[in-house]
């Protein structure tokens, strides 16, 4: 797996765990809508994901347009983290 693929599957696992979803992380696609989509996540889940991402990757996602963009789908979230996380920038 490439680094970004690893990141994406880690993010899926993070979302399932943090939001207490009873689904196999692998069934989440990279393109599907995260909040308000078939996954059934709401704004409270969004806040929970933001805080978990900040703790794990040091990337702060504020409420508002940036959060909506970043939480659009797994692809978008991974891209924000790859761009902004020091851990990834150094590697």
């Amino acid at each position: 797996m490439t680094q970004i693929e690893e990141l994406k599957s880690a993010l899926k696992a993070l979302i399932v765990k943090e939001c207490d979803k009873d689904v196999d992380p692998a069934t989440i696609t990279n393109e599907e809508q995260l909040i308000g989509g078939a996954l059934g996540l709401d704004s409270l889940d969004a806040l929970q994901i933001c805080m978990a991402v900040q703790e794990r990757y040091g990337v702060r996602i504020e409420d508002g347009p940036k959060a909506r963009r970043a939480l659009r789908n797994i692809d978008a979230l991974a891209e924000v983290i790859m761009t902004e996380s020091e851990a990834f920038a150094q590697s």
């Binding site: 709401d42 704004s43 409270l44 806040l47 805080m51 409420d63």
Partner: protein, 386 residues
Amino acid sequence: MPSIHLASFGLHTTLGRGIDANVAALERPPQPPREVSVPLGNDARSIPYYTLADAPLDDIEARFEQALHGVIVEAIERAGLSQTERREMGLFLGSSCGDMPLLETQYRRDLESSSEALPMTKTSSLGNLANRLRAAFGIQGPDYSYYTACTASANALLAAAAMVQAGRLRHALVVGVEMFNAVTALGFSGLQLITRDVMRPFDRRRSGLVPGEACAAVVIGTEARDSNWTLLGGANLCDTHSISATNPDGSAIAAVIQQALERSEVEAGEIAALKMHGTASLLNDEAEAAGLRRVFSKAPAVCALKPYLGHTFGACGVAELALFCSAVERGMLPGTPGIAAGDSDLDVTLNQTLRAQPPGKFMLNYFGFGGSNTSLIVANDGARSR
């Protein structure tokens, strides 16, 4: 059925200690919050907070009990309750923090002496605060600690009124308490709901809430004492739309207001002025505005008190009631200059200046997490009893 009199109030907020100091502070516009250092592990975070006037944050445990005892003494003395009346009255507490300030302080201290220390070893019941207050004031009546988030002390008041009205109790002491604690500050911060600005409910520029401390007390009974207010009725309903937000279409808020009006036998058109909940968050204000539009064909005068007090959560039921009633009793409706002054995107215009307010019937609304919505209706008949 006998009338329920709000016999007397006690109040301590960021505006001042005592009812008179609080009412006097309404003559100045709301002040921006100052930032408080909130302990987080061995570190700290700076978070805006309205802390109590004349009660520095240095000794968290001492100031907690002092502030709380202060407002209870104020209410009991103004009501002129005898020893026997005091002993037999019920205690109805409404809070969201409970003993949290004490639990945090104790745990922090214990961790300094041992890294193995555990939280909540000295006290671990949300009911202990009520028992401490009963012991301090010699109360043998029943106690009820309401923990229903931002409606807690308003719900405590409704339950107290039902008990007194049914003759189960002659008097009840209803207490609202919300004191500085890290869980509240950091929790709301994590929900991205805190602003560094003055709270601006219903204003286009609204940007969130500021946590506030308050201790407040009201004594109720079937005869008038220090104040000339009566509680006409109220209602509490659960909106199961979401744990963290009320239904934005306003239907749940309209339902609780409607039920409060029916139980109080008051028509919407009779409400002279209304105290909004107004948390200055985008969605809650939208829901509240939508709820009012469903009930009132012509909006009464509306005011909001959180720009002055901050959001005092579980205490706001009694704290905002005490402040609102005490101001109106002195002939004044509170105003918030420059906040929702007429160009609100929600079509709500708040009263702008402290202005003359004749006696009448008034509504106070409270909406909180866990879908708890409460509406109270009170009336005053003019002349103060003393």
